[in-house]
C-alpha cells in the first residue's frame, strides 16, 4: 500500500468512525419529529389522563423568532399536598424552520462542554421544556402524550 492509499484508508476510517456510524446510528434509531399541527391542549389532556392535577397555568411567550405563544404549567399528583411537582413550559411555533431552530438553540445552550439543563420534548408544533425536577411525573405525561 503506497502513501496515497494509506491516506485514503485512514480518511475512510475517520469518516466512517466519526461521521457515518455514530451520527447515522443516533439519527436512524431515534427518528425525527416532523412538524404537524396538534389541536387542543395536549399537556392538560395528558395530565388528566395520567391522573395528575394542573395546579396552575399561565400564558407565556418565549423571546425567540417564530414563537407563537404557550403556557407554563405547574403539575402535581396533588396540588394541596404534593409529593412531586413539575414545571412544564410549552411553546407553539409558526413553522417547522422556526421550531427546528429553537431545538438547535436549546442544544447549543449547554453548560460547560457537555450538559444541557432540563429536558426538551418535541410534540407537533410544540416544544415542551421542563427543568430537572419531577422526573416521574414527566414520564407519566410523556406516556400519555404518545397516546394523544
Amino acid at each position: 500500500m503506497d502513501k496515497k492509499h494509506e491516506f485514503i484508508l485512514v480518511c475512510l476510517i475517520l469518516v466512517i468512525a466519526i461521521v457515518m456510524l455514530p451520527v447515522s446510528f443516533a439519527v436512524l434509531t431515534h427518528g425525527s419529529d416532523p412538524y404537524r399541527i396538534v389541536a387542543g391542549d395536549p399537556i392538560e389532556a395528558a395530565a388528566e389522563k395520567a391522573g395528575l392535577a394542573v395546579c396552575s397555568e399561565t400564558e407565556n411567550t418565549w423571546n425567540i423568532p417564530g414563537a407563537a405563544g404557550g403556557r407554563v404549567y405547574i403539575i402535581s399528583d396533588n396540588c394541596d399536598e404534593p409529593s412531586e411537582t413539575v414545571r412544564i413550559e410549552t411553546q407553539a411555533f409558526d413553522s417547522a424552520d422556526s421550531r427546528d431552530a429553537a431545538i438547535k438553540a436549546f442544544h447549543t445552550n449547554i453548560i460547560g462542554k457537555t450538559g444541557t439543563h432540563g429536558n426538551m420534548i418535541v410534540f407537533g408544533q410544540y416544544l415542551i421544556f421542563t427543568d430537572s425536577s419531577g422526573g416521574s411525573i414527566l414520564g407519566k405525561i410523556v406516556e400519555k402524550l404518545d397516546e394523544y
Binding site: V23, A26, W62, A102, I111, I121, V122, L138
Partner: protein, 479 residues
C-alpha cells in the same frame, strides 16, 4: 510571548509566556453560556460551583501542573498517559479528546452563529443557510488562524479571551454590583448559609454530572508544552492564574445575573442572549445588548479555537511518532499540523452540515451530546490514573511542581478527580427523564462512544516501520 528565529525556515518560533498559557485555558473553559443556566439555582449556584471545583477544577489543575512540569513534551494528555500506560492508551486518550470535539464543534459553531444573529437580526437563526454559512466562516477561519502557527493562535486566544470572556464577565459582575449598591430589589431570596447547599436528588443527578465537567479544558495549555521556554516554572503559575480567573469570573457573573433576573424568566429554552437582554434591559442599558452579543460571539470563537488547536497539535505529535500514516505528519513552515487541521476541518464541516440540515431531530442530539460526555470522561479518567501511576512507576522523575502530601495527597487529588469522572460517565448513560427506550439509549451512547474511541487501535494494528521518521519532520513549503 517571546520569539526566536529558526535558521532553516526563517520563521520566528514563538514562545508562550505565563499570561499566554493562562489565556489558552481561560479561552477553553470560561464561557458566558454557563452563567444564565447556573443563575437559575440562585445562591445554591455557589454550592454547585464548589462541587465542580472540588471534584474537578482543583484536581485537574493540580494534575495538569504536575504532569506538564514532569513531562513537558508536546502532545499534552497523550504524553502524560503514554508515560504511565504506554503508547496505545496515550493515543486513545488523545483521540477521545479529539473525536469528542468533532461531535461538539457543531454546537459551539451554532452558538456562534445564533449569537451573532442576535446582534444583527434574530430571525436569521431560522435560516439553515445563514447558520451554516456563519458556522463555516467561523470554523474555517479559526482553522486558518491555526494554520499560521502558534504566533497567530496565541494572539487570537490572548485577545479573544480578554475581549470575549473576561470583559463580558466583568461587565455583568459590575452591573450586579451597581444593582446591589443602588438598592435595587434583589430577585433571589435573602442570603443564608442553608441557601448555598444544592439540592441533590435522583432528578438532579444529570445536572450534578454536568457540573463535575463544567471546567473541562484546564489541561489545554499542556498541548503547547513545546512552545514554552520554561515549562517547569511557567505551567503551574499559568494553571493557577487561569483557575482563579475562571472561578471568580464564573461565580461573580452568575450571581450578578441571579440578583437581577427572576429564575422563572431564565428559561433555558429561550437562550443565553435572551437572558443577557433581560439583564441589560432591567439595568436600563438596552443599547449594550448588541455589543455584548458581538463580544460573546468572539468568546465563542476563542472557545472553539482553544479546543480546535490543542488536540490537533497532540494528534500531530502522534503522527510524528509514526502512529498514523506519514501524510498526517505534515507540518507547514509555521509548525502547524496542516494535514490534521485539514482532516479535522473536513470532518467537522460534514457533521455541521448534518447538524444544520437534518430536519426535526431532537433525540439524536441528546445521544451525540451524551457521547461527548463519555469520551471526555475516558480522557480525564486516564489523566487522573496516569497521575497516580507515575508516582509509583517514575517516582524519581523531577517534577518541579509536585502535588503536596506525598502518596496520600496524590491519591486524594487523583482519586477525587477519577471518582468525579467515573460518576459522570455512569450518569451520562442515564436517558432523559421522559425517555422510554432506556436500553436503546444506552446502546446508542455506548456504541457511538466505542466507535469514536476505537480508531487508535486500528491505526496501531496497521502501523508500519516506514511510518516512523526518526524525528525528521516533513515540512511543506508554502505555495
Amino acid at each position: 510571548m517571546s520569539e526566536d528565529t529558526a535558521p532553516k525556515t526563517g520563521i520566528k518560533k514563538t514562545y508562550l509566556g505565563i499570561f499566554a498559557l493562562a489565556m489558552i485555558n481561560v479561552a477553553a473553559v470560561l464561557s458566558i453560556r454557563n452563567f444564565p443556566s447556573m443563575a437559575i439555582y440562585g445562591w445554591s449556584c455557589i454550592g454547585w460551583y464548589v462541587i465542580g471545583t472540588v471534584l474537578f477544577l482543583i484536581p485537574i489543575s493540580l494534575a495538569g501542573a504536575e504532569l506538564a512540569t514532569g513531562w513537558p513534551q508536546g502532545g499534552g494528555v497523550y504524553a502524560w498517559v503514554k508515560q504511565a500506560f504506554g503508547e496505545k492508551d496515550g493515543f486513545i486518550a488523545l483521540f477521545c479528546e479529539w473525536s469528542n470535539n468533532l461531535v461538539w464543534f457543531p454546537t459551539v459553531l451554532s452558538f456562534i452563529a445564533a449569537t451573532l444573529a442576535f446582534a444583527l437580526t434574530p430571525e436569521l437563526t431560522s435560516s439553515p443557510f445563514y447558520m451554516f454559512s456563519v458556522m463555516m466562516i467561523a470554523f474555517w477561519g479559526t482553522t486558518a488562524v491555526a494554520y499560521f502557527g502558534e504566533n497567530a493562535s496565541t494572539k487570537l486566544s490572548n485577545f479573544g479571551a480578554i475581549l470575549g470572556s473576561i470583559i463580558p464577565a466583568v461587565m455583568i459582575t459590575l452591573l450586579g454590583v451597581w444593582w446591589l449598591a443602588t438598592g435595587q430589589q434583589l430577585v433571589i431570596p435573602d442570603f443564608s448559609i442553608g441557601q448555598l447547599v444544592p439540592e441533590i436528588s435522583l432528578d438532579t443527578l444529570p445536572f450534578f454530572a454536568t457540573v463535575v465537567l463544567l471546567f473541562a479544558g484546564m489541561e489545554m495549555a499542556g498541548f503547547h508544552a513545546l512552545e514554552v521556554r520554561n515549562p517547569q516554572t511557567d505551567f503551574p503559575k499559568a494553571i493557577g492564574i487561569s483557575a482563579v480567573i475562571i472561578f471568580f469570573c464564573t461565580v461573580a457573573a452568575t450571581l450578578a445575573i441571579a440578583f437581577v433576573i427572576p429564575a422563572n424568566q431564565l428559561s433555558l429554552a429561550s437562550g443565553v442572549m435572551q437572558a443577557i437582554q433581560y439583564f441589560f434591559d432591567s439595568a436600563g442599558l438596552s443599547g449594550l445588548v448588541g455589543p455584548m452579543a458581538i463580544l460573546i460571539t468572539i468568546g465563542g470563537v476563542v472557545n472553539l479555537a482553544a479546543w480546535l488547536i490543542g488536540p490537533a497539535k497532540g494528534l500531530g505529535v502522534i503522527a510524528e511518532e509514526g502512529n498514523m500514516p506519514p501524510m498526517f505528519d505534515k507540518t507547514n513552515k509555521y509548525g502547524a499540523p496542516v494535514a490534521v487541521l485539514l482532516t479535522q476541518a473536513l470532518i467537522g464541516s460534514a457533521i455541521s452540515l448534518l447538524y444544520v440540515f437534518l430536519p426535526s431531530v431532537n433525540q439524536a442530539y441528546w445521544i451525540l451530546s451524551a457521547m461527548t460526555v463519555e469520551l471526555l470522561c475516558i480522557v480525564y479518567f486516564l489523566v487522573f490514573a496516569a497521575l497516580i501511576k507515575l508516582r509509583y512507576s517514575q517516582p524519581d522523575t523531577p517534577r518541579p511542581f509536585k502535588i503536596p502530601g506525598g502518596m496520600v495527597g496524590i491519591w486524594i487529588v487523583g482519586g477525587m478527580g477519577a471518582v468525579g469522572v467515573v460518576f459522570s460517565f455512569i450518569v451520562g448513560l442515564m436517558p432523559p427523564a421522559y425517555y422510554d427506550n432506556t436500553i436503546g439509549y444506552v446502546a446508542a451512547v455506548l456504541f457511538g462512544t466505542f466507535v469514536l474511541a476505537v480508531p487508535p487501535l486500528i491505526f496501531l494494528k496497521l502501523k508500519k516501520p516506514g511510518w516512523v521518521k526518526g524525528g525528521q519532520k516533513e515540512v511543506l513549503e508554502d505555495g
